[in-house]
Symmetry: C2
Subunit: 448 residues, 2 copies
């Protein structure tokens, strides 16, 4: 993509309304724009990150047996009366009346709808197990929306739901999602720590939330240092092997980890040696629940079991905050100069900076490399604008692409580009003819 043809309205100054760093940086980079309180447009740069996150979620969901579908944003109130949650949900639910006075609502989650779908479609235990998910916009009418897309009113979520015949099979489904979440966040270049959690309005008796560490995180967290030493990206697994999956869950849940609201200092001291006790801050990016028959029973979602008897299905639900993750990743990965994207979710793999736009030799070298890099399958943002060098550097640091390739008249003479690693600041001179190969290696390395 040529910057001259891209739409990336970078702000010169920090926006006053932003209270947290991710909100400030997303506005400054032209990733998002607020339309009204807690409701945002995703401009092309932000949309690219959203897409990369969705792609990673989809890939890992498919591997773990999840089937993608798409439920609507608007739901009938009657559905929520069946489960008894219509009145419970309070003012955070956006309630709507249509022209025929039907009561509707903008879905904040989909347990009721998916249970009703499975109820009407599945007759026999032979059709199980099922794991269905969608990635769809949801609405939560916060009284005071703030912190940008970290706590927006209209937000994008992946939510998945499992349906099994027995509690044991249901717990196995929960375990598969637990492991798939470890793998999903690792594939984004994140360390997400699973912690036992309250179940809140979703309900049920077992829940874990996944938090990524960030100094500016919303919650205090206390955990065993062993989490940081684990090779997260290496957690590979055969999802059909329930024992192996349970083993991974056990490995991760046997270590102490807790958010401040349920932290137990005595247990922390008892279970974790002093030199392994870590406290910090985190941001919740996913949560999973096993709630058994909480929805299937009131809604009558049952099938005939092998013995001919009716059995209420055992279910769990599994959420990832897709739009929230974009902000969460920035909170976890930035510096004074701007964002530092983990490679797998970066809006472009690299930025190509032409230091002397209009100089025939420099333009020629840049165009040639732009074509080469693009043909190699890399996503390149080519800064072909005529701004001065300082402005180009500042902007490229701000938007935080993992690599910068800088080409000016001097480099053209010597046949060298300067390659900068955004995260470390390290700069290397690289000959033009080995540049594409090097970038391809760097950008496709498994993120560790």
């Amino acid at each position: 993509m040529r910057l001259s043809k891209f739409f990336m309205p970078v702000l010169r100054d920090d926006p006053k309304e932003a209270e947290i760093v991710s909100h400030r940086l997303m506005l400054r980079c032209g990733m998002i724009r607020q339309e009204t309180g807690g409701i945002y447009s995703w401009l092309p740069l932000g949309f690219r990150v959203l897409t990369k996150i969705m792609d990673i979620v989809r890939e890992e969901q498919a591997r773990a047996g999840g089937l993608e579908m798409l439920m609507p944003t608007i739901q009938p109130a009657s559905l929520w009366r069946e489960s008894g949650r219509y009145d419970d949900y309070g003012k955070e639910m956006l309630r709507i009346t249509d022209r025929r006075d039907n009561e509707l609502l903008y879905g904040p989650t989909n347990e009721e709808m998916i249970t009703s779908i499975v109820k009407s479609s599945v007759q026999s235990y032979k059709d199980l197990p099922l794991n269905l998910y969608h990635i769809q916009w949801k609405f939560r009418d916060e009284i005071r929306p703030r912190f940008g897309v970290m706590r927006g009113r209209e937000f994008l979520m992946k939510d998945g739901y499992s349906f099994d015949l027995t509690e044991e099979a249901g717990r196995e489904a929960y375990n598969r999602m637990f492991v798939s979440y470890l793998r999903t966040f690792a594939a984004m270049g994140l360390k997400a720590i699973p912690m036992r959690a309250e179940t809140g309005p979703i309900g049920g008796n077992e829940s874990h939330e996944f938090l990524i560490l960030a100094e500016t995180g919303e919650s205090g967290v206390f955990f065993d240092k062993a989490f940081l030493e684990k090779d997260w990206s290496g957690v590979d697994i055969d999802y059909d092997d329930a024992g192996a999956v349970a083993g991974v869950v056990k490995e991760f849940t046997s270590l102490y980890a807790a958010t401040e609201d349920i932290h137990d200092p005595a247990a922390f001291e008892r279970e974790v040696p002093e030199d392994r006790r870590v406290s910090g801050r985190g941001i919740e990016v996913g949560q999973i629940f096993f709630f058994g028959t909480k929805y299937s029973k009131p809604m009558g979602c049952a099938v005939q079991g092998p013995d001919g008897k009716e059995v209420y299905l055992q279910s769990g639900s599994y959420g990832i905050g897709v739009s929230r993750l974009v902000a969460g990743i920035i909170e976890a990965s930035h510096d004074e100069a701007g964002i530092i994207w983990p490679q797998p979710v970066a809006p472009f793999d690299l930025g190509l900076i032409n230091l002397r736009q209009g100089d025939a030799a420099t333009d020629g070298a840049c165009e040639k490399l732009y074509e080469e890099l693009s043909n190699a399958g890399l996503d390149v943002l080519y800064d072909d604008r005529s701004d001065r060098a300082g402005e180009k550097f500042t902007r490229m640091d701000l938007i935080g692409l993992p690599w910068q390739v800088v080409i000016g008249p001097r480099g053209v003479k010597s046949g060298m580009a300067e390659v900068k690693n955004r995260a470390t600041g390290e700069k290397t001179d690289v000959p033009f003819d080995t540049l594409t190969g090097l970038m391809l290696d760097k950008c496709t390395e498994v993120y560790a």
Copy 2:
């Protein structure tokens, strides 16, 4: 995908509520499910088609210079007061009041929002031209929703918007989208005929709608047979060459084509020789508008031109009914037995039918071919269920994958599979060892 692990709740009987064939077939195949009047869930089979359509739209938009972004579903009413459309839009607009008594609405289209985004982000003519699009759910509160997703209340649309400095440049942007729509529909295996159209509530002075032909279409259409003889898939073009683009537009708009509401029988007879006059029925799947300054003026969307003077931007908007297309394609392509998907939008490339599930030799041959076909990059739906052959054939015909590969004990003995073309019904025996190569050729042929 193994059918035994897929979620495709096929109905045995025709659903009574379906008045048109696409609605009936989508329900029967388990592609969609109604949640309340005019609001549908997309089950995995339907979601796959939706995804294929979105992929094709995105590819062609990128080629024509469109940048993808994502605007929210909920908009503030204040924005629509600026353009004067808040009161005009009537009861089809779903109006919402949030907990703080702010007036919101579920967006039926996005001219106001995108104009406001461009207004706040673009200062100079140097930032133009711009062509921004998104694919997002919209809402139209129909008094009597029916015909399934053909005329749903919550529906998925691609809507794009162009911004240019001069009327001439604006018309060139319109022309690019005109040509990109021809290419987009052709890439889906469709013949879509552009027809001059009324501008309706979007406004402006120039508009074309694109209709695909279907015997069961909603509108009567009259057109020159030359449209049918054109090699639509061959319309390749350099979008930077405004003259060439205008040439294609002229070629297509100089032929007579009109829907019944603006059909002029005298002109039809005058302009089209008798043997080239075709009348039929069609379904609108896209519409484009050039409306100049209709929104930029009242909303104050202007930039400094090269001479320093303020200039209101020239705009158009460009819609494709993504969810409606799924139904439209079925209306255009089905028979007594079910759907006949054009290859590019088929939910799977082919169906592999195991005629004797449980027979070791047949299972072995099927598993081997399933692996080979999948590894070759083909999307295979493998019917590995234990239903009897007749049921499998009926179901596979119903869901309409372009190719069926049938393997039974007799074929295993002779090393042959039966390959059936769903559209023509033609059957051929193909040796196992050449099957994958053949299917790869058939499924990746450019659709003509």
